[in-house]
């Protein structure tokens, strides 16, 4: 969440965690991937919010139907692909030098 002079903006990012040790973050997206743009996301009881609490996966095992609250007022739907989200993480993670350094240090200590 980003605080700005006019309030906060709720946006979505991606991360990947280890299957058997989920506290270990494998990849963290450098930038957000989905944010308020449409009128129903920008204006409502709380402006500039996209807030998903759940999804369904399509019969193909890859389509993600992401349901999200829009501006604390209504429900909306956006569709994506798990394969594409994972590929995006491969191409768009690891640019945070501060975070990389921290992880390197904790790995050496551990």
């Amino acid at each position: 969440m980003r605080h700005t002079a006019s309030g906060s903006i709720y946006r979505l990012g991606l991360a990947l965690f280890d299957l058997e040790q989920p506290e270990i973050c494998l990849q963290r997206g450098d930038s957000w991937v989905f944010g308020p743009e449409e009128w129903y996301e920008r204006h409502g009881d709380v402006n500039d919010v996209v807030f998903p609490c759940g999804q369904t996966i399509g019969a193909d095992g890859d389509t993600i139907n992401l349901y999200y609250g829009a501006a604390d007022s209504s429900m909306a739907l956006a569709t994506g692909s798990i394969t594409a989200l994972l590929a995006w993480l491969d191409a768009n993670s690891g640019s945070d030098e501060e975070w990389n350094r921290e992880r390197g240090r904790s790995a050496r200590i551990g």
Binding site: R11, E20, L66, A76
Partner: protein, 229 residues
């Protein structure tokens, strides 16, 4: 009013040059005008596909007093023709659970094969602040409440669908004076929680995810890891 020409595409593109997320042309798919009883707003629904193929949204519904409860909406295609419960599906029960006196919010649903039940982690809101409560259900008609499993201030929780190293795992987001980060905690019985570890810290400075970061929908298990939004 709505953008009725085409679906609207997120400006962030995948490796193929296609958008990562494409908005549904019917958005918004559920508003207060759909509701069978007077409400203020509908938002932040937990989601599950039922065995009969229907999509169920367990919506957070804010009533005209400003307090929230949960109400189920079902649809065959997950887009329209929603059948909405005629009254609240899971309403606050402050007499037995005083932590819900200001309402219940933002459910995340996980189907747990070992229990053959759905676990609903939701925010319970009272004078002490927002905390994490848990309820189990088989049918979204009757619920077994576990009460508060993470005390305030804490929210944005989801149970992982299987045990990790023999223990249940809950992702959640406690708040401290230094920020709001994602944590994971473990339990042998869904009631007693420990083994707390930080999963992901909010960044600082100008980063887009500075100061506060939390789980959105429940993680998706993929061969590469838990994909988390």
């Amino acid at each position: 009013m709505s953008n009725d020409s085409n679906t609207s595409e997120s400006h962030v593109e995948s490796h193929t040059g296609l958008p990562l997320f494409t908005r549904c042309a019917a958005n918004p798919i559920l508003t207060q005008s759909h509701w069978p009883y007077p409400i203020n707003s509908v938002l932040n629904a937990g989601v599950v596909r039922l065995p009969d193929g229907d999509t169920l949204l367990l919506c957070r519904v804010e009533d005209r007093r400003g307090l929230s409860h949960l109400c189920a909406a079902r649809s065959a295609n997950g887009v329209d023709n929603w059948v909405i419960d005629p009254q609240p599906t899971l309403a606050p029960c402050p007499r037995e659970f005083p932590e819900e006196i200001w309402g219940i919010e933002d459910p995340r649903i996980t189907y747990v094969p070992e229990l053959e039940q759905y676990a609903v982690a939701y925010t319970s809101f009272a004078r002490g602040g927002p905390g994490v409560s848990l309820a189990l259900t088989r049918d979204f008609k009757t619920f077994e409440r576990y009460g508060v499993i993470m005390q305030p201030e804490d929210k944005d929780a989801a149970l992982l669908p299987r045990r990790i190293g023999g223990r249940w795992a809950l992702i959640h987001r406690p708040v401290t004076t230094l920020g709001a980060h994602m944590w994971i905690s473990y339990s042998p019985d869904l009631r007693h929680w420990g083994g707390h570890k930080i999963m992901l810290e909010a960044r600082r400075g100008g980063w887009w995810d500075a100061n506060k970061i939390g789980l959105s929908s429940p993680p998706i298990e993929t061969p590469k890891g838990w994909l988390t939004i």
